[in-house]
């Protein structure tokens, strides 16, 4: 994907969550957004996803201007922190809903089963979310995200609601997707994982992109004192 931001702004009431954000990430496969809470990571991801409209400025994705429309949302998939599966539908039905009602693919059932099978969820296809563990739920959510073959996957802190073992289970899956060559943007607090999986990492604080660089470079020798302090704080334990 090719992703760039041009003088992007977004406020909630008097609070400027995204404050004149500009950056050209160039051509890349995976981008990780890191930084302190309230720095604007999730809001930026939601603007890219077409779930929130920016107040000003623009996001360009693969040469197209991102809009807050259903048409745009159909080409992307979002994986949320809280899974956001539909509790009244089985795992399989959760995958079928977008496939059948939005994308109208003819072989929906076979494709959905194949996606569940891939993530070792075939035995759970007919269970409702309440009968699944947190890690299984998030894997179903990821299967729902990839089954429509989106242009870009967007992960919003996909492991923040999981215990360490389940976190590993979900990160394994994301790493597989990376190996497969899928493009994604990931908001995460898992610094080790961001370093391993992302081509490029952007550090956001106070509604601005303080710096962005190839993952190795940013973690080894970040240019800004703010980023170095943040990394020192979160990597201490």
């Amino acid at each position: 994907m090719r992703l760039s931001l041009h003088a992007l702004t977004k406020s909630f009431g008097a609070h400027r969550v995204i404050d004149d954000m500009s950056a050209d990430f160039g051509e890349l496969r995976t981008l990780a957004l890191i930084g302190p809470s309230g720095g604007g990571k999730s809001t930026l991801l939601r603007i890219i996803a077409g779930l929130t409209a920016a107040d000003g400025g623009a996001v360009q994705l693969d040469g197209e201007r991102v809009t807050c429309t259903r048409e745009h949302r159909q080409h992307l998939s979002v994986v949320f922190q809280a899974f956001n599966l539909f509790p009244h539908l089985s795992a399989l039905e959760n995958l079928l809903l977008p496939l059948v009602q939005v994308h109208r693919v003819p072989d929906a059932e076979a494709r959905a089963m194949a996606a569940l099978d891939r993530f070792r969820l075939a035995d759970h296809a007919h269970k409702r979310p309440a009968e699944l563990s947190g890690g299984q739920k998030q894997r179903v959510a990821i299967a729902r995200a990839i089954v429509i073959q989106p242009r870009v996957l967007l992960f919003d802190e996909p492991t923040s609601a999981l215990d360490p073992e389940m976190t590993a289970e979900v990160l394994d899956v994301i790493e597989e997707l990376k190996a497969e060559g899928r493009d994604f943007v990931l908001v995460t607090h898992q610094m080790g994982f961001a370093r391993r999986v992302a081509d490029r990492v952007a550090f956001l604080a106070d509604g601005r992109i303080v710096e962005h660089a190839p993952a190795e470079q940013l973690f080894a020798q970040s240019a800004s004192a703010q980023c170095r302090e943040f990394l020192a704080r979160v990597l201490r334990y």
Binding site: A49, L51, R70, R73, Q74, S77, V78, F80, A82, N84, L85, F86, P87, H88, L97, P98, Q101, V102, H103, A130, R144, I148
Partner: protein, 245 residues
């Protein structure tokens, strides 16, 4: 559970005996015999009540749905109109509404068909109450569900159909069933416009047989036969909804 069942059965037995003893004292053999001769009037009235309530049930769900969605509409005049209507209906007695609508509005527009008028009045009344139940059900579906529906690219109509309604239905079914029991009982007020239903026919039997209590006790039983199964069903739905969460 067993002890509770025995308790309920015991209470019902005692209550039944008291009612029986009271009826034994207050009614006469001759009274029951003369009323029994009019069983067909009771039967027709009961069928009339069943028909009116069933028709009103269907129409009231449609009205309730329209009002509930209307109160969530983006356009302020629609929202305001639906709110005023719901509050007007909920704030006035059904009897008053029957008088105003049947003898006032319907008379002016030339709608003289009593059955049709009854169904309209009753479903308009129940619809206002249903709309509040439906609205609460819709609002019980969390914001993250709506977000998720948006994220996978569903339209607003699809979101209602596949995400909101199926989840809201589970929440609203028990109070909805309770509302249907009320609707059946409320239909008795329609007797004042002389439509053929249970209360109206019970009054007719009372006036020709001169046996009041003997005419009105079957009336109560006729309503209980309809409302008891519904309230038991509602209770069962409620317990099921609890287990699922």
């Amino acid at each position: 559970m067993k002890a509770r069942g025995a308790g309920v059965a015991g209470a019902a037995l005692v209550f039944g005996f008291v009612v029986y003893a009271a009826l034994w004292r207050l009614t006469t053999r001759g009274g029951w015999e003369s009323v029994a001769g009019y069983w067909r009037l009771f039967w027709n009235g009961w069928l009339g009540t069943l028909g009116l309530a069933s028709a009103a049930l269907v129409v009231s769900v449609v009205i309730g749905l329209v009002l509930a969605l209307g109160r969530r509409a983006r356009w302020l005049p629609v929202r305001a109109l639906c709110t005023v209507h719901v509050e007007l209906i909920r704030g006035t007695p059904l009897l008053t509404q029957i008088l105003i609508l049947y003898f006032g509005v319907f008379h002016l527009v030339g709608l003289e068909n009593r059955v049709l008028a009854s169904v309209l009045i009753l479903s308009n009344f129940a619809g206002a109450y249903l709309s509040e139940i439906i609205r609460a059900g819709i609002e019980s579906v969390g914001a993250s569900q709506l977000e998720s529906a948006r994220a996978i690219g569903l339209s607003t109509a699809q979101t209602y159909r596949f995400v909101i309604f199926p989840q809201a239905l589970r929440q609203v079914l028990p109070p909805l069933a309770g509302q249907f029991a009320s609707l059946i009982k409320d239909s008795s007020l329609l007797s004042i416009i002389g439509v053929e239903e249970l209360t109206q026919n019970g009054q007719q039997v009372a006036s020709v047989s001169f046996s009041t209590l003997e005419s009105y006790v079957p009336l109560a039983l006729g309503y209980l036969v309809l409302t008891l199964p519904i309230s038991l069903w509602s209770r069962w739905l409620e317990s099921r909804a609890h287990f699922e969460t």
